[in-house]
Symmetry: C2
Subunit: 332 residues, 2 copies
């Protein structure tokens, strides 16, 4: 098969995986009551999204020789856990839109968003426990580790909002908990369900961990580097909000004099007009921040991909490689 | 041993169980970071409380021949799960005080209360997973069933706030999910960890389920019947808030004419002055609502106690009997 048609075939497989996750999630909530909790839950879970974590569970399972059908419940469980954090984070971040539609607390209210988020976390465990695996206790531990870490990560994110003495080391620490851990757990859980060896489980855990960091770096870069039309979000929003991105913290480490004053002012939320986006972008250029962030992202993606060499050579492994390239290239 | 000294001895045992739960919960959070999530969590979990659910896990385990130390982590886990719901419910109910001190969202803010509540749910699973038992998957299923039901129960509670066509049947349905299921899960999980037989597990599950309903009935009765000084809460608060208690829904079924109009107005939150407390209390008296609620509570407690006859005759069983009597008599 030519490279192009092989890629088409992989893309098709990944799309099928996504479709089976979507179908399972829709089926899960049919006939569930009360509507006070399940209407917002269904709204949030069917609003779209890449289903990266769920697809990773399925591909990880397949890559070590397991059947994806055995991992489908766990795949949906991790997607539910992820979406639970989005509902609650959107309240805390005062975000009005997610995936182009009003967030749950905007469409309903904060109380409904709290409760339907809680219900989604409960449903996540309910779904995970449908998994038939002799390694269920270990799977539960990994899943719970991701739950603990994503909360702690959000806690650090809130704490960091008040701190200006931060560098990229702090960023990595926070992102490992807030973003990377759950993606890493997806790889690990898929490997466990597929019956992977100790080495394979470790490889898929590390693949997920590196991929998660690269994913977040890409997110941070897109904020300043994205195409306004394809991005779908406001370019420079992170800067206006003084969000502790890799870019801002790297600039915070490097900038001197007047530039440093500007970066600190952005971090202190003292300047947040549209004008400051250009000024910060200029500092990023001057300090080589954007170029270095791209390099870091590529390096981290390569680290993720290197882990795949420890897996048997098969279609699922090729799909995991394809997936990591896609995340690097994405424009949204 | 005389009845009195036997009761003293049982009380002492229960107090020791409570102390070991308190100590374990305090130890659990030592050195945990970030403080943005763990400070509110520690504040909420060390603010007191009866530890009914945790004590029940320990006594249930002991009653079927298990060692309480093996059930301590699970006991704390269910206490954490319960307290997580309290933090989030207090936001939704706009409660300023809990156990005599400001609620988490009052002392910090809503965002911190959402996040530290989430963290508490995560910590609950983390704690539960420390339990060493070959029946861990079943224990996880029961625990998750309680998590699902408590959210659904809160959803019904919110839905019921907008409905006036409710009776005691609806009340029972809601309370089974919102209150009784977790107490029932406490009994069941303790029995599982203690290695109880199928019949013993069932007996302790039902004991908890009946106890949970009786517990809620007592709560509802105390609102109108409590002593203002010992109760520690405002007498008649449920009425002022138009809360769908057993009493109000029974009155809603029974009252006719002008009385019915008053009850409906209370349910529609149209009257909520202090004066309406007396008027509703008079309706309760006239319709025999209070007397019947007390009878129902006693009947339900007896049903719980009847389940204990299926357990071996031992000190823990005696303590479970004592505990159910105490809950019936309590003034707070």
């Amino acid at each position: 098969m030519s490279k192009l048609s092989e890629n088409d075939s992989i893309r098709h497989t990944v799309e099928l995986h996504k479709a089976s996750v979507d179908a399972r999630l829709r089926k899960m909530t049919v006939g569930k009551k009360p509507s006070t909790v399940y209407d917002p839950l269904v709204y949030a879970i069917t609003a779209g999204g890449k289903r990266l974590r769920a697809i990773l569970v399925l591909l990880a399972c397949e890559s070590v020789g397991g059947k994806t059908t055995t991992a489908l419940d766990a795949a949906c469980a991790i997607e539910l856990l992820h979406n639970f954090t989005l509902i609650h984070d959107d309240i805390m971040d005062k975000s009005d839109l997610r995936r182009g539609i009003p967030t749950v607390h905007k469409k309903w209210n904060v109380d409904e968003a709290i409760l339907s988020g809680d219900q989604m976390a409960a449903s996540a465990y309910e779904m995970l426990l449908k998994t038939k695996s002799p390694r269920l206790p270990e799977i539960m531990r990994i899943f719970t580790g991701a739950f603990v870490d994503v909360c702690e990560g959000q806690g650090y994110d809130i704490e960091y909002e008040q701190r200006n003495d931060l560098g990229v080391k702090d960023y990595r620490f926070m992102i490992r908990k807030k973003t990377a851990k759950m993606i890493s757990a997806a790889g690990e859980i898929g490997a466990f369900i597929g019956g992977g060896s100790k080495e394979e489980v470790k490889a898929l855990r590390l693949y997920g961990a590196y991929l998660g960091i690269a994913f977040q770096l890409k997110d941070d870069i897109l904020d300043i580097d994205g195409n306004q039309e394809t991005f779908g979000k406001l370019i420079g929003r992170d800067i206006i909000e003084g969000k502790r991105t890799y870019l801002l913290l790297m600039a915070n480490e490097r900038a001197k004099g007047k530039d440093r004053t500007i970066i600190r002012a952005v971090m202190r939320h003292e300047i947040h007009d549209n004008d400051c986006i250009k000024r910060v972008r200029d500092i990023y250029e001057a300090e080589g921040v954007l170029a270095d962030a791209r390099k870091e992202m590529e390096r981290t993606t390569r680290k993720a991909q290197a882990q795949l060499s420890k897996l048997p050579r098969n279609r699922a492994r090729a799909a995991l490689l394809w997936l990591s390239d896609k995340l690097l290239e994405r424009q949204t």
